[in-house]
Amino acid sequence: MSLPALDYDALVTRGKDGALRFEAAIDGMTCAACIGEIESALHKLPGMPAARVNYTNRRLSLEWREGLFDLAGAFERLRRMGYRLRPFELAGGELIEQEASKRLLRCLAIAAFAAMNIMLLSVAVWVGEKSDIDPATRDMFHGLSALIALPAAAFAGQPFFQSAFTALRARRLNMDVPISLGVTLALAMSVYETLIHAEHAYFDSAIMLLTFLLLGRYLDAAMRRKTRAVAANLAALRAPAACRISADGVETIVPARQLRRGDHVLVRPGELLPADGVVASGASALDESVITGETARRNVAAGDHVFAGSLNHHGALTLSVEAAGAGTLLDEIERLLEKATAARSRYVRLADRVSAFYAPVVHIAALATLLAWLWLGASLHDALVTAIAVLIVTCPCALALAVPAVQVVASGALFRRGVLLNAADAIERFAEIDTIVFDKTGTLTSPHPRVVNGADIDPDVFALAAGLARGSSHPLARAVAAARPDAAMPADITEEQGQGVRALVDGVEARLGSPAFCGLEAEVAALKGLEPDVSIVAFRYGVRHALFRLRQVLRADAVETIAALARSGFAIAILSGDRPEAVEPLAKALGVADWRGGLKPAEKVSRLDELRASGRKALMVGDGLNDAPALASAYASMSPVEATQVTQAAADAVFVGERLDPVLATLQTSRRARSIMRVNLGLSAAYNAVAAPLAMLGMLTPLIAAAAMSGSSMLVTLNALRAGSAAGASDSPTAKGSAP
């Protein structure tokens, strides 16, 4: 059976110069040797595309001239080598992030170069003061410092100046306002002091400050970029392809996002629906658990509305695509999402709360110093120099690093545990959680169905069936194959689309698929009282046969993780869109007393609002489209990586893998991170408590300013590193951060 052709033209971007460009995420690249293998394989193809594998991002970019190169051939060649390409379009957000991170690195390089050279000159001046530097040499060194510092600050300070300017225009104060003010005044004062041949100049402090801050921002941006790239790859790997039927009946495979309203799409049994639409012809049962949480299947026929992400069970369907329409489920969910997201933005980040308090205090302290010195009879010059020194020394270097440094380390630790953060401030919100609300289907249960009656089946038959199942692409067959991963696959398996697979084993035909395909309808009819969410896969080999019952089961570690969370003092609740009688046994197995079933999306949101009103801070963990509004309205939220895209966008973090313990790890790491953030803020406050009075008394020399500033920044950064080691040590399921 031949599959319809993939519509490659839709995936290629055309440059102005006639060059064609194509980007894809690579699935199956496991080691560094794969780089050379893939690239040399592509270079040998006719048309010789410029192929470049990015190993960090697991991506491939190709560039070639029109008409000379066969992209479909390249796909096929890589597929035979064991790599699957997933076409890819860089999201706008990721491109911006890449640019921003490059720009920060450029600024950092210039600031670091300037800081090192100015420090070289400054150390000479400081040492010279104790010995015999002559004023002319000192002036020359100050002048050289100015020549380096002014252009460097004008370039490398831009990220701060722009952000401060934006904040001021919106009549707000952020951390960048005191930073910009401090740097600008320090430079201006130092230039003036140099011109009047004075002893002290603060070029080194100003540029060092910029360097440290840029380092923090760059690390932050780099971490975010890495998470973003992994998330985008995962999205590309799961991006559904659709089989479009054109007006003349030709079938082509196109990426689902290129479907337009009115297109006709063919969905075979076992495939996910690529778009919302109306059934044009055919009849089937749909598993809509991803969308509604309901595990019982819905029978659909021509004229019914269906939703993207549903699993088509046993009949081929032709859909008429309908992108959006008033009154559909998606429409309602989007409306709820908008409302919930607006509520979320009320959260004020820890760093912003601190800077809202800190910036005015610093500015008032500097002004008070100026007035006090004038009052005591000092000259305007001396009073100004002292006031500016106060601004320089309190310039929130350590303070501005205190929170981001911890965020970088903690999100790096979470990244290694398979948790990708969408929002940097999510760590602070995770740390405050006291209640956890789980969705059932796909969250507490594993996203894929499992064989539940494996023990009743003859092991030999099971092994044979599992081997045969490996030749099928149907999700249920894959579940049978996954139950016996070591089963040998028979040669020459034929797949009958929509029915099953068959192969000759020792001269006897083996079949795996629908009961009708294996002639086992009578046996299925004999199974009475089946739960509505159980699926059957039949197997026949000569006279021997078996019926595999499959359903969604709890994630492997769900019971332990829930118990560990409850022990740590979190209140646990289950809110499900599934029928109450399906939720109850599961809630009992997990020992969760607070559960509700049959909830609509709006009811989940209102339940979360009730929790919020009673002072609870709830973490929502869910995967379905029906959870998206609840995720957005909860205090913090997580979703598994199998979740629909709308849901993932609404969640603060996405976790990878079959296990549930990333939820526990996230909460532990976040709590630890928050306590380290607080220690860091305390450290920088202590530094200011020592340095600011010195500056106010006029006893601050550039040497003390430089030493104090770099000392406190390093202390804060080193302390932040503890946030990473914590996650590695907390492999045991007990939560340490929440001892009562």
């Binding site: 560094a32 040797a33 780089i35 040399s40 594998v53 960090t56 170069f113 020359m140």
Partner: protein
């Protein structure tokens, strides 16, 4: 002390060359794939191709 008039500009110039080198490497995409670069150095397939 007149030696400083030569040494200080010399030191700055050397540092500046280093900075330009870094910016060049950054702009030519050498920082886009750090993990890949680390393993590419061990691959000798490019040498076989030229034979």
């Amino acid at each position: 002390m007149t030696v400083l008039l030569i040494l200080v500009p010399l030191a700055l110039a050397l540092g500046f060359v280093g900075l330009l080198g870094f910016l060049w490497a950054l702009n030519s995409g050498q920082y886009d794939d750090l993990d890949g670069a680390a393993s590419r150095v061990l691959s000798d397939e490019d040498i076989e191709d030229k034979k």
